[in-house]
């Protein structure tokens, strides 16, 4: 009343290994030596649905070996290996249906169709890559020019800064020449030098202070007043761009104006900012800083990502508008009211070693309740357009964004080559 399936199995025409390089090992009617050499068995034990070889090599066509693999020829598509546990498991894995020869599963041979589809998508990809790569060249060109511009400007600013620095240095030299005798004293009396040095330092500081006083005392009335000081924005203690009366008074130790001797007591509080301002004015500082920052970014091997700088790209979902500002931040704003949430600030390139510029990482976003700070991983793929194509939150507060840009398009092999590389098609 039962059919011993194993008997059925033995009479089945089992697939012979189809990989040309291995076929030679399965020579009919000759003892078979396991591919790892561990043992030799009669040929009728090859594909007899019992695992004899430790490496699984005696059962290339059955599910008997836990570590075996099965070769699908997939004529019309791409050949592939599947774990032998997928042979006759009722699920069609090989597009040529060869893995399901005894499970009752009805599989359709879809290799041709899959081949066609793949060819089509490869073709589309190749076109995108080609156009994208052209765009990339343009981007590289533009980036190079832009960078030269910026570098030029920076150099210019830095040049004028240098001029000022030289002026200061010259003044300093004059002073120091006057101090030469002390220098000699130092050589003569090494032990006394430290004390001397402190004296000299104080002396120099006094000189600078005197100079500063003269400079700040616009009306040369012998007093530095609140009004006079207020024009020196560089001294703003909270750097908010304005110097209020109170702030100024604070700088002057609460007084409305100070004479030279009182100035001595407040000097230490304004010294650093004042001296720095001699080198560059505040506007110049901020431009310099921004330029330096921008030039300091890693915009890719040929600065092809530079065009993304100070741009923002949005994607609207059912609930939120996501905003990616490359090299700056990622954010999320509810569509129907509510405040924006910071999903991360620019961190670094985070692709694998061989493709570093394929992934951007933004972190230190807004903290999550009982959780980490929000962060976003941006995956870059080649495309003609620069666009955010999807967002998701695979783990709570860890966002994933897909972003296409020509900047990651690789130099295409010619279409012929692409198709040629897949001869099985």
């Amino acid at each position: 009343y039962f059919i011993p399936l194993n008997l059925l199995l033995c009479t089945q025409p089992l697939p012979v290994p189809t990989i040309p390089t291995e076929r030679q090992f399965y020579e009919e009617n000759k003892p078979f030596t396991c591919l790892d050499g561990s043992s030799t068995i009669p040929f009728d034990r090859v594909n007899d649905d019992y695992c004899d070889c430790r490496d699984g090599s005696d059962e290339p066509g059955t599910a008997a070996c836990p570590n075996g693999s099965f070769h699908c020829t997939n004529a019309g598509f791409r050949p592939t290996f599947i774990p032998s546990s997928r042979i006759n498991d009722g699920i069609c894995d090989c597009c040529d249906t060869t893995d399901e020869y005894n499970s009752g599963a009805t599989c359709q041979n879809t290799c041709r169709e899959m081949g066609r589809k793949e060819r089509e998508s490869l073709q589309i990809m190749a076109e995108i890559t080609k156009e994208g790569f052209l765009l990339k060249q343009q981007l590289i060109h533009e980036a190079k020019r832009g960078q030269e511009d910026k570098q030029g400007k920076l150099t210019e600013l830095q040049g004028s800064k240098k001029g000022l620095e030289e002026k200061v240095e010259a003044l300093r030299t004059v002073k120091e020449t006057a101090e030469d005798p002390e220098k000699e004293a130092k050589e003569r009396h090494l032990k006394a030098w430290e004390e001397q040095k402190e004296l000299i330092r104080m002396e120099k500081d006094k000189t600078r202070m005197a100079e500063a006083f003269l400079e700040l005392d616009d009306d040369a009335d012998g007093y530095v007043s609140v009004a006079e000081l207020q024009s020196h924005l560089e001294l703003d203690p909270d750097s908010d761009g304005s110097l209020s009366e109170t702030e100024t008074q604070g700088l002057l130790g609460g007084a409305d104006k100070v004479d030279t001797s009182t100035f001595e007591t407040v000097w230490s509080g304004i010294k650093d900012k004042y001296l720095q301002s001699l080198i560059c004015d505040p506007e110049c500082i901020s431009i310099c800083r921004n330029l330096e920052k921008e030039i300091g970014f890693d915009f890719g091997p040929s600065a092809e990502f530079a065009y993304l700088y100070s741009q923002c790209y949005e994607l609207s979902t059912s609930e939120y508008i996501y905003r990616l500002c490359p090299f700056n931040r990622v954010s999320q704003k509810p569509k129907f009211g509510g405040s924006e949430t910071n999903l991360g600030l620019w961190g670094q390139w985070a692709g694998p070693e061989d493709n570093l510029y394929s992934v951007m990482k933004y972190d230190h976003g807004q903290g999550c309740w009982q959780g980490p700070n929000r962060s976003t991983t941006v995956k870059l793929t080649c495309g003609k357009e620069t666009v955010v194509t999807s967002t998701s939150e695979p783990s709570r507060c860890e966002y994933l964004m897909e972003f296409t840009t020509p900047a990651v398009c690789q130099e295409p092999a010619s279409l012929d080559e692409v198709l040629h590389g897949h001869t099985e098609l």
């Binding site: 039962f2 008997l7 836990p66 498991d89 009722g90 309740w369 998701s392 860890e398």
Partner: protein, 928 residues
């Protein structure tokens, strides 16, 4: 799942801020201590001593089925009615109710599978002090003492168990509230004449919380006044008691002197703490006692809030002190005293007299039924997370398992899959095509579970809500309106699952045409069914809420059972009664085993939580619930990679094997931790799949005879006192001993291999070890110490595929572990794996495999059954064998075939090559 998120309304956020106080542990202040629970405090204030209760022997009536007898409280003259039953299978039932209660008191329905069949009691002797009854066989007697009232069950001269021996029987009779009467002075006058041990009413009553009780901001109105009950049990000779889950505590129950009693009250406890008697999600009021002489059980059938005190006269003593007692011969007998206190209902106790653990399991399952026999796939691996976000996410995870060649059977969807937490619906953006998604899983021969919780969003555009409301199926508040509380959807109603009409309607909602987007491969998860009410007292329902005529107070612990019952019934009905259901529940009660699986709720990704999963599931197994598991990896927080790997290794050998994670934790699918860890997890899961035939067979037995699947060692070695407190290792059935590595950085474990004269075989190396020893096993990160008992035969399927369904027709490998006497026995159970045909049409194969006299044979254990399997015997591995000269396979057709074999002399392992015989037929292999 569960826990709290801030994506909810601002009201809830505000409430959460207060509730959670931003800490990472249970806020004990949210849950009552005995002192804060008025009835527990009142009852616990009674001290042992003179019981006011006296048996009125002149009222004794003895019929064929029972003995009845009135008891009187000499202090207040209130009479109680005692009913005593001798039940078939060596059990005694003791029922005590008020003789004439003001109104009926609640008696728990739907838990017993039938009216337990009785046996006649016979009166042996009677005088003015009491009566002696025969309990039938085994020279067992029941002695009823009259003054004070007391029951003793004796076997020969030995007292097995006594009731009210400490005089803690206390029955708060129903009464009319006196301080609300028109004439308060008159009432007070009456007070004075009232009985002495009765707490005074009026002002003091308020203090005692008899008519009203306030906890935090919640006031519990008690229109029925005090109604609590209590009874004590003494167990001479007993030092070990177990059971009364659910608690995050050791297997052996601790004494509760000086602390709180163990509490049984189904609660959603946020981030529960370990090693304390606080109540958790489920309650099974069954306690087992065990000594080397006898195992017994006490089943306290009451569904109200219950507290259990345990004390022991040996608990405080050191080992030295006990030895001294022994040497001096001055020792009193060890004894454990237990006291049960419940808020309402009646006393209805089943005393299961064993005497063996197996007997107690049979006795208990004859009362409340056995474990539901799950579909085979439910015993495989489950992949869960709060939440798989959308259909693409589900597809990607499914694909990930195939890419990494890790088997799984079920992927789960938590609350976020619904349309705004409206159960039975799908989020239209994230899951627009649920059937396509389910079909994708069907194509891989895999399945899905979606969550359906019992809180229903109050929303007039929600069909389920409208129907429940219009049918009047919601639980009512004390004023008769629909009870509403906060849960995931915001304001929610709670269907009254105690109503059979409601349950029938609920079940009908699982029909394929009702639950849109559902398919045959979609099953159900009932969470939050304590029920959880975020803004309710102790995060649950108000006790004065009404289920028909009964208060939630009376039946609180039953709610979760009913939810799972109705859901399981729905899954059966949708298939026309053909398919076995699979329903996971968080809340449970005695009898819940009949409806599916339970898990230990919202645990934490910490090593201690991994360890506690063993005693928690062992405790459940002892009281009927075999299908138990803990969230692999831990629900809250993120596990270290090592902890995750160890949890997979442990979970692979526990009955319900599901990984789960909180919404706020980083993803932790098995392949996210580098190839080495992926390989370790893959190996653990593969070991589970290879062993599925054995798991399935164990569940068949759990279903058939109520024997637990996962067992403490003492169940099989009841005389080996070394095993009585062990809960870091366990047995699966009788034949596999598992000692998982649960220590961080573990370099070795010491496993206790029981059984003098027995041997155990390491299932990975086949190394043989002697029984009755502590064996140190060095371990690496890949080690899962598992041993097969010498004398057993375990079937496995060595061809692990991507789901258990894919392995259905695969051949078997038999692992025969020989005893020192070269004997072994095992079984093989096969059926279709998912229908009731095994039961209704006896379509199964159940075979006895035995090895004796150098011959291994397979014989039919169930001659009335029939089932055809294409599976065959692929390989036979005999451990502890000697080398034969030849091996012959004999089949019923008279054919004899010589089998090839390999013999590993270093390990004494004989491997018989490809017997090839069908798994469903008689055969014998003879070694010569």
């Amino acid at each position: 799942m569960a826990a709290f998120i801030v994506r909810m309304g601002p009201l809830l956020v505000l409430w959460l801020a207060v509730f959670l106080s931003g800490t990472w542990a249970v806020d004990r202040g949210n849950f009552k201590t005995c002192d804060q629970s008025a009835f527990c405090k009142r009852q616990r204030a009674l001290k042992p001593g003179q019981s006011p209760y006296r048996a009125l022997l002149e009222t004794l009536e003895l019929t064929n089925t029972k003995l009845t007898l009135q008891l009187i409280n000499d202090n207040n003259k209130v009479r109680l009615l005692l009913e005593l039953y001798r039940l078939q299978g060596n059990m005694t039932r003791v029922k005590i109710n008020e003789l004439k209660p003001l109104k009926p008191r609640f008696e728990v329905p739907d838990v017993l599978i039938n009216d337990p069949p009785t046996e006649p009691l016979s009166l042996l002797s009677q005088d003015e002090n009491g009566v002696v009854l025969s309990l039938g066989a085994d020279s067992q007697w029941l002695i009823v003492s009259a003054k004070p009232f007391r029951l003793d069950i004796m076997e020969g001269r030995e007292v097995l168990l006594s009731l009210n021996s400490r005089g803690l029987l206390a029955f708060e009779h129903l009464r009319i509230r006196k301080d609300t009467q028109v004439d308060p002075e008159g009432a007070e006058k009456k007070e004075e004449t009232d009985a002495a041990n009765e707490p005074a009413e009026g002002e003091t009553a308020k203090e005692d919380g008899m008519w009203e009780e306030t906890f935090k901001s919640h006031t519990d109105n008690k229109p029925n006044g005090p109604s609590s009950i209590s009874l004590d049990f003494s167990l001479p000779g007993v030092e070990h008691v177990y059971g009364i889950p659910e608690h995050a505590d050791s297997l052996k129950l601790k004494t509760t002197d000086g602390g709180d009693p163990y509490r049984l009250f189904n609660l959603d406890v946020f981030q529960y703490e370990l090693f304390n008697p606080m109540a958790l999600y489920g309650a099974i009021p069954v306690m087992l006692s065990h000594s080397a002489q006898r195992t017994m059980g006490i089943f306290w059938l009451n569904a109200a809030e219950t507290w259990v005190d345990i004390s022991s006269n040996t608990a405080g003593k050191t080992v030295f002190g006990q030895m001294l007692d022994y040497v001096q011969g001055s020792s009193e007998t060890p004894q454990t005293d237990v006291r049960w206190i419940s808020e309402s209902g009646i006393i209805d106790v089943f005393i299961m007299l064993g005497p063996t653990p197996t007997d107690v399991f049979s006795q208990y399952s004859s009362l409340t039924g056995t474990q539901a026999f799950p579909p085979l796939s439910a015993l495989a691996y489950h992949q869960c997370r709060w939440n798989y976000n959308d259909q693409e996410d589900v597809a990607a995870v499914d694909q990930g398992f195939d890419e990494h060649d890790i088997p799984y059977d079920f992927i789960w969807l938590d609350i976020e899959h619904t349309d705004g937490k409206r159960y039975f619906t799908w989020d239209p953006h994230k899951f627009p095509q649920p059937k396509d998604m389910l079909q994708g899983l069907v194509d891989k021969r895999r399945k899905m579970v979606t969550i359906v919780d019992p809180h229903i969003k109050v929303d007039s555009s929600y069909k389920i809500h409208n129907e429940i409301r219009s049918k009047g199926f919601y639980v009512k508040n004390k004023d008769g309106g629909d009870y509403e509380g906060w849960c995931w959807p915001g304001n929610s109603g709670y269907p009254d699952f105690t109503n059979p009409e409601m349950r029938a309607w609920w079940a009908s909602m699982f029909a394929y045409d009702q639950y849109e987007g559902s398919m045959e491969n979609m099953y159900t998860w009932n969470d939050m069914n304590e029920p959880s009410v975020f803004n309710g007292p102790e995060v649950t329902m108000h006790k004065d809420a009404l289920h028909g005529n009964w208060e939630n107070r009376d039946l609180h612990n039953l709610y979760g059972l009913y939810v799972q019952m109705a859901t399981a019934e729905g899954l059966i009905e949708r298939s026309g009664g053909v398919e076995r259901p699979f329903v996971l529940t968080r809340a449970f009660f005695a009898g819940s085993q009949r409806y599916g699986a339970v898990w230990t709720g919202d645990n934490t990704a910490e090593w201690e939580h991994l360890k506690i999963s063993i005693p928690m599931c062992l405790s459940l197994g002892l009281v009927g619930v075999s299908f138990c598991g803990a969230d692999v990896g831990g629900f809250f927080k993120s596990p270290s990679t090592e902890l995750l790997v160890r949890w997979y290794q442990t979970g692979a050998y526990q009955p319900f094997f599901r990984a789960h994670a909180h919404l706020d934790t980083p993803r932790r699918e098995p392949w996210l931790f580098g190839p080495e860890n992926t390989a370790l997890i893959r190996e653990a899961v593969r070991q589970r799949y290879a062993l599925l035939p054995y798991w399935y067979q164990l569940f068949y037995h759990a279903h058939h005879s109520g024997q637990p699947v996962m067992r403490p060692l003492w169940v099989e070695y009841p005389q080996d006192t070394a095993t009585f407190s062990m809960d870091d290792q366990f047995l699966l059935g009788r034949d596999l001993l598992v000692h998982p590595v649960t220590e961080e950085g573990g370099r070795g474990v010491t496993a206790y291999l029981p059984g003098k004269g027995e041997v155990w075989f390491d299932v990975h190396t086949f190394q043989k070890h002697n029984g009755a020893q502590n064996l140190y096993i060095p371990v690496t990160i890949s080690s899962i110490p598992v041993f097969q008992r010498g004398g057993s035969i375990i079937p496995r399927k060595a061809r692990v595929r991507r789901s258990s369904s894919c392995m259905e027709h695969d051949p078997y490998t038999l692992f025969v572990a020989l005893s020192p006497k070269r004997f072994a026995q095992g079984e093989l159970y096969i059926d279709d794996g998912h229908t009731f045909n095994f039961d209704k049409q006896k379509q199964f194969i159940h075979r006895r495999l035995s090895f004796a006299n150098k011959a291994l044979s397979s014989r039919n254990l169930a001659p009335g059954s029939q089932f055809i399997t294409p599976s065959w015997i692929e390989k036979i591995v005999i451990l502890g064998a000697s080398k034969p000269s030849k091996a012959t396979l004999k089949t019923p057709d008279g054919k004899e075939n010589l089998l090839e074999f390999e013999f590993d002399a270093s390990m004494s392992v004989l491997t018989l090559r490809k017997p090839g015989v069908n798994a469903g037929v008689d055969w014998t292999v003879v070694l010569q």
